[in-house]
């Protein structure tokens, strides 16, 4: 696959450099570690610091979500690889304003170990309180009974949004993490893959898929899904995704949800809105109210083809977090 890049070894460094140069009013690199990015709008004294992070290749996730109303800082890993504890710790130090720091990331072995080590170091070496909420929204990745084993995919966006707002409301660390965990509990996603991406270093397609095929339940690093089959219509795909979600979580008539149709990279907005159209039909047939909709490339997998659907069931508190304004380089909500 063709890439516009220079040396494949430095794609992450060069991306970060471009990113910081493009949005100097929003974001700065910490001198201690060039994989540590924090908001230029100093975190308020006494506000809980919100720290996100994970591998690169998911842009605008995760570095695009640092700014007012969302995260205070991000630790940036190599492509599809958790950041190491160092940049996480540096961000932690920079954004702790006495109220502790909430770590938010997806449920991957690497992230758990690296963020876990950083949290320990923050506690032992820096005396900073860290609490963690781990996203596990992908219903395709483990059975219902083992939700804690599930991957975090596009639903991470809602979890950042909820926790970022809660921190902005002035909630304390336990409360912020409670809201983040509640957001995760109430969030379900499922995706479909149409075409693979390729790591810049290998150029090899991340998975194989036939001309007329799709893969249901694909992970957002190209991890194999639960079922490969012939490509179906947008409506049938939407039916399948929403159905599997609604079998997993009870959302009843009159309930409110936030909806995210998330493009994985190379799927045009046109197709994403065609899928949204059907999602809306299904929900409105069931009397479920769409409180707010997001359609677009929110958490991608390089140039992967496909998309995911995410529903977050809202109570009043979560609805309030969804309404909260955000001002990040790659996402603004008034």
């Amino acid at each position: 696959m063709k890439k516009l890049m220079n040396d494949s070894r430095y794609v992450v460094e060069e991306m970060i450099e471009g990113y910081v140069k493009a949005h100097p009013d929003y974001i700065r690199q910490l001198p201690e570690n060039d994989r540590s990015l924090v908001t230029t709008k100093e975190t308020r004294e006494g506000k809980v610091g919100v720290l996100i992070g994970g591998g690169s290749g998911h842009e605008p996730g995760f570095l695009g979500y640092v700014g007012q109303g969302m995260a205070d800082g991000v630790a940036v890993g190599n492509i599809f690889a958790s950041p190491s504890p160092d940049p996480i710790l540096e961000v932690t130090k920079a954004i702790d304003k006495g109220a502790g720091v909430a770590y938010l990331y997806g449920n991957y072995a690497g992230d758990i170990m690296n963020f876990g080590m950083a949290a320990e170091m923050a506690d032992l070496e820096e005396d900073i309180r860290v609490e963690t909420a781990i996203a596990s929204d992908d219903v395709a990745s483990a059975p219902k009974e083992e939700k804690e084993k599930r991957r975090g995919i596009a639903g991470e966006f809602f979890i950042y949004k909820a926790a970022g707002a809660a921190a902005d409301f002035g909630y304390d660390l336990d409360e912020v993490v409670r809201v983040a965990k509640k957001a995760n509990e109430n969030t379900r996603s499922m995706g479909v893959g149409l075409s693979p991406c390729a790591l810049p270093q290998t150029g090899e397609p991340s998975f194989e898929i036939g001309e007329g095929e799709m893969e249901i339940g694909l992970g957002h690093h190209g991890e194999p899904g639960i079922e490969k089959g012939p490509l179906q219509t947008a409506d049938r795909v939407a039916d399948r995704l929403v159905n599997d979600i609604l079998e997993d979580i009870t959302i009843s008539k009159g309930d409110r949800v936030a909806v995210l149709v998330n493009g994985l990279g190379s799927t045009p907005l046109m197709e994403q809105y065609i899928v949204f159209r059907r999602v809306e039909q299904i929900l409105s047939e069931k009397g479920i109210e769409i409180y707010r909709s997001y359609v677009g490339n929110y958490i991608t997998s390089l140039e992967m083809g496909g998309l995911s659907v995410t529903l977050m069931k809202l109570d009043d508190e979560l609805a309030k977090t969804i309404d909260h304004p955000v001002d990040c380089p790659m996402f603004v909500q008034k």
């Binding site: 492509i79 190491s84 991340s206 194999p224 639960i226």
Partner: protein, 218 residues
């Protein structure tokens, strides 16, 4: 047989070289089970270690220091799953040979046992989970047992590497339970685990190193 810091450097240098050769193969294994980056990650990490070996560590005489810095450097450079795992391995191993400019065979047994146990503790995986632990637990157990009874390091290490190989190969028939491939269910069967493979490569490289008369201090 005794090893100096120079031996640790030379051995690590050989890992660096080997990983460059095996990079594509490791990625290919990871594409089947995970996100396809294992070879890239190992390469990034070991290239960073290499840089330290050539500079900061080039005159270092403390064996433990070489191992610690290698582990920390690897971790900083890669993060990922294998960063904390291998880093913990090299750092826990180093703990056993703290401050030593020379290590003897008993030290080496302790080093490798601590290496394996450290990784297992960090990742909380068990044999059968289809991870590098499937390579490493049989490896360090065999090494420890064989050496305790025979006191023949080279022979024990040979056995340990054999056990490592069998462990690695056993991952083909396992269902994933840890890491990225754990959600594959049945579809994970048939593919060899990339981390189990790189762990085997690392320990078998050590076998090669000590047996090919490469060791500098005897």
């Amino acid at each position: 047989m005794k090893l100096t810091a120079q031996d640790f450097r030379s051995y690590f240098k050989q890992i660096v070289e080997m990983i460059e050769e095996e990079k594509d193969y490791l990625c290919e294994l990871d594409r089947k089970l995970g996100d396809g980056d294992h070879g890239v990650t190992m390469s990034i990490g070991w290239q960073a270690v290499n840089e330290k070996l050539d500079n900061e560590l080039s005159q270092e005489e403390d064996c433990a220091k070489v191992s610690i810095v290698a582990g920390k450097t690897f971790l900083s450079a890669v993060g990922s799953s294998v960063g904390p795992l291998y880093a913990t391995g090299f750092m826990r191993g180093a703990k056993e040979i703290k401050g030593q400019t020379e290590v003897n065979e008993e030290d080496l047994v302790n080093y490798w046992v601590a290496f394996g146990k450290g990784i297992q503790e960090r990742g909380q995986a068990e044999v059968g989970d289809k991870t590098m632990v499937d390579t490493l637990e049989p490896f360090y157990r065999t090494l420890e047992e064989e050496y305790t009874s025979s006191r023949d390091f080279n022979a024990s290490f040979d056995r340990a590497v054999e056990a490592a190989k069998a462990g690695m190969e056993s991952t083909k028939d396992l269902l994933s339970k840890r890491g990225r491939s754990s959600r594959l269910g049945d579809r994970s069967i048939g593919a060899q685990d990339p981390g189990a493979t790189s762990a085997y490569l690392i320990v078998s490289k050590f076998q090669e190193y000590i047996q090919n008369g490469l060791v500098q201090a005897k």
